[in-house]
């Protein structure tokens, strides 16, 4: 109830963000239900259905990452000094955030179910009735348990992840500073690559910074060697798996699910994971280069801020890079592969992943800006012109694009090269 009441009073833009979460969750739910439809109508092709289900993991992970980013930047879940005294402390706020995430995701799942049933022809009276009869196995009854499990996947994962990320930590020392300051970077080493896709790893490590970490800018993030090694290993695995050529051994894209060299998929996942891990290191390097050799005010501010915020902004940036390079490679392959081009479901999945990762990056940038409000105010007090600060921000943006665009392009080319027929 508290989550609902807080949601009622929030700013329309914040509500719009939650609506986007609901939309992403609806997209994922619909994709999962379509997989169910495929499995129902093709009971013989177990491996093809499984492959479709596996491809659904990428949009799911992107949605979860986005939902967590929204929960983290939500103003109503920020600790408030006054409300902590009346019992609305960090733990309660984390629960509230999880509840509101679950609420928006469930809303999305419901919409997905309605659209699915409508397209199957179970609900009538609207345009596009029974538009997808064959695709969605309209002639067979839906197994209720499967539908419930698939639809609860997004809300459960997203709310668990946001509760985990926002959980109060640190015992007696306050974990989240009341006035968030941008001077902390998580100096924990990069986590072992335990999860199946890079996106989930990205969410799990998107923890808020600890206040006043002493070793903030001096030590670069530890993930760079790991990231580079994983990217290289991914490319190697992919090249190895696709050796031998042959027209039959191209990538198992969702529309062409007849063949399944799992090595290529594993290689791509490893590459993406490596990029996500290398992101903070690359951003830090970018900042270092920017402020090197007798910087003026703009270069000094831009470079040091990049170095300081590398841990926060690097990971989503790496994920966006991985997504972009994957999409570029897939587009190249689709354009060369024989047979039909990609269908509406593949397009939906790809759009979902791209939009979610990009939106997450934008939200994290917003969070960084919010965390630096105090510093910005202090700088303005010292007489820094707003123009100077804007120039510094622009410099950061240009530097990041200069570094990451070639990396993305090179990785996409390398990933597509061994698969070219």
């Amino acid at each position: 109830m508290l989550a609902l009441r807080l949601a009622r009073g929030t700013h329309p833009l914040v509500l719009l963000r939650r609506l986007f979460v609901a939309a992403a969750s609806a997209g994922v739910g619909f994709l999962l239900l379509c997989t169910l439809g495929h499995a129902l109508s093709h009971p013989g092709q177990t491996s093809a259905s499984l492959l479709r289900l596996l491809w659904c993991l990428a949009p799911l992970a992107a949605t979860v990452q986005f939902a967590v980013a929204v929960a983290r930047t939500d103003p109503s879940t920020r600790p408030r000094p006054g409300l902590s005294a009346v019992g609305l402390g960090p733990a309660r706020l984390a629960a509230t955030a999880a509840a509101s995430t679950a609420l928006s995701c469930t809303l999305g799942s419901m919409v997905a179910l309605l659209v699915f049933l409508h397209l199957r022809g179970d609900l009538t009276g609207l345009p596009f009735d029974r538009a997808g009869t064959e695709l969605l196995a309209a002639d067979r009854p839906l197994p209720l348990a499967a539908v419930v499990i698939l639809l609860s996947l997004a809300p459960l994962t997203a709310s668990t992840a946001s509760a985990w990320v926002l959980r109060p930590r640190g015992g007696t020392r306050g974990r989240r500073p009341v006035a968030p300051r941008g001077d902390g970077v998580r100096d924990t080493p990069a986590p072992p690559p335990a999860s199946s896709t890079p996106h989930t790893t990205g969410t799990a490590t998107l923890a808020p910074p600890t206040p006043l970490a002493a070793s903030l800018v001096t030590s670069p993030p530890a993930g760079l060697p790991w990231g580079v090694a994983l990217t290289a290993a991914g490319l190697a695995v992919e090249t190895y798996a696709s050796r031998g050529g042959g027209s039959g051994r191209v990538l198992p894209l969702p529309g062409h699910a007849d063949l399944a060299p799992a090595g290529v998929l594993a290689g791509w996942s490893l590459t993406a994971l490596g990029l996500a891990l290398a992101g903070p290191g690359l951003v830090h390097l970018c900042g270092f280069l920017l402020q090197a050799v007798r910087p003026g005010a703009v270069r000094l501010l831009a470079g040091r801020v990049l170095q300081g915020e590398a841990g926060r902004i690097g990971r989503p940036l790496g994920v966006v890079c991985a997504t972009a390079s994957g999409l570029i490679a897939a587009t190249t392959l689709y354009s060369r592969a024989p047979g039909p081009s990609f269908g509406p479901l593949t397009a939906l999945g790809a759009a979902l992943v791209l939009v979610c990762t990009t939106a997450t990056l934008i939200l994290v940038a917003l969070e960084t800006k919010q965390a630096r409000t105090a510093t910005t105010r202090a700088l303005l007090r010292q007489g820094a012109a707003a123009q100077t600060l804007r120039a510094a921000a622009l410099t950061r943006l240009v530097a990041l694009i200069t570094l990451f665009a070639p990396v993305t392009w090179a990785l996409a080319t390398l990933a597509a090269a061994p698969l070219a027929p």
Binding site: R181, G182, D183, L212, A213, A214, L216, V217, T218, R294, P295, G296, A297, L300, L301, R304, V305, Q307, G308, A374, T375, R377, A378, L379, R381, Q382, G383, A384, A385, A386, T388
Partner: protein, 247 residues
């Protein structure tokens, strides 16, 4: 006050304000405050919390445009300036020390000190030399290469003072500069500030609620509930308690 509005203030006042009114979104903060700051003096603006000291300093330094009233700096009207001109005026002629150090966490102590100089467009080398010189003058040259997170609060506040002094401003605004410090640190910081101001003949406008701090100034302007109180010490429990402590 019967001065006609177009009259420029007297020439020996570096900063001059007439019948300032300001309200923060409706709640009145300053009501008809006038004052003049003479060249090279240390002026204390005293009063309890919520008496409008910070708002007055903000209006004087051009951060806020008062709802009504005039502010003149060296016979130039500040209240009619555009935002960009005020920004430039603040950068080139004013300096500000607030109660929290407000350092940029990513920059080292000397870089923080040199930042206003760099913002003014000075060269890297000259700015560094000036910054390091000021840090050494304030006894914190040893930590010049450390970041604010690695410093003690008193050291951070001194870096903030060095940053304000390094630009050789015409007017230095200090808003409760000793609020977060223990008494020994506070006394040291204040001594540093006043000594530097006197030796470089800076004009200082110092907001404080502490009569001991105000005693270091040449002149005090008491504020109460957003109005200029009579020049006599502030009556009330807080004033009495402070008086008995200082006696």
């Amino acid at each position: 006050m019967v001065v006609p509005p177009d009259n420029a203030p007297p020439d020996n006042d570096v900063l001059w304000a007439r019948s300032l009114h300001h309200a923060h979104e409706g709640s009145p903060a300053l009501v008809d405050v006038s004052l003049a700051v003479r060249e090279g003096e240390i002026l204390a603006v005293t009063g309890p919390r919520g008496s409008g000291k910070t708002t007055l300093l903000n209006c004087l330094s051009g951060h806020l445009v008062p709802d009504d009233g005039e502010v003149w700096f060296n016979s130039v009207p500040v209240h009619t300036m555009g935002a960009l001109t005020r920004e430039r005026l603040r950068r080139d002629r004013f300096a500000w020390i607030s109660s929290s150090p407000d350092l940029v966490p990513e920059l080292t102590a000397w870089e923080n000190t040199a930042l206003p100089l760099l913002l003014r467009g000075e060269g890297h080398k000259a700015a560094k030399a000036t910054a390091v010189e000021w840090l050494e003058r304030l006894d914190i040259g040893a930590v010049a290469r450390k970041r604010p997170a690695a410093l003690l609060q008193a050291q951070r506040q001194r870096v903030a003072i060095a940053r304000a002094l390094a630009t050789a401003p015409s007017v230095l605004f200090a808003d409760e500069p000793t609020a977060p410090l223990h008494r020994s640190d506070a006394a040291q910081v204040l001594r540093t500030l006043t000594t530097a101001a006197r030796s470089h003949s800076l004009t200082v406008v110092l907001a404080t609620h502490d009569p001991e701090v105000a005693a270091l100034a040449d002149r005090a302007v008491p504020l109460l509930d957003g109005r200029r109180a009579a020049s006599a010490p502030v009556a009330g429990t807080e004033g009495r308690a402070a008086c008995s402590l200082s006696a």
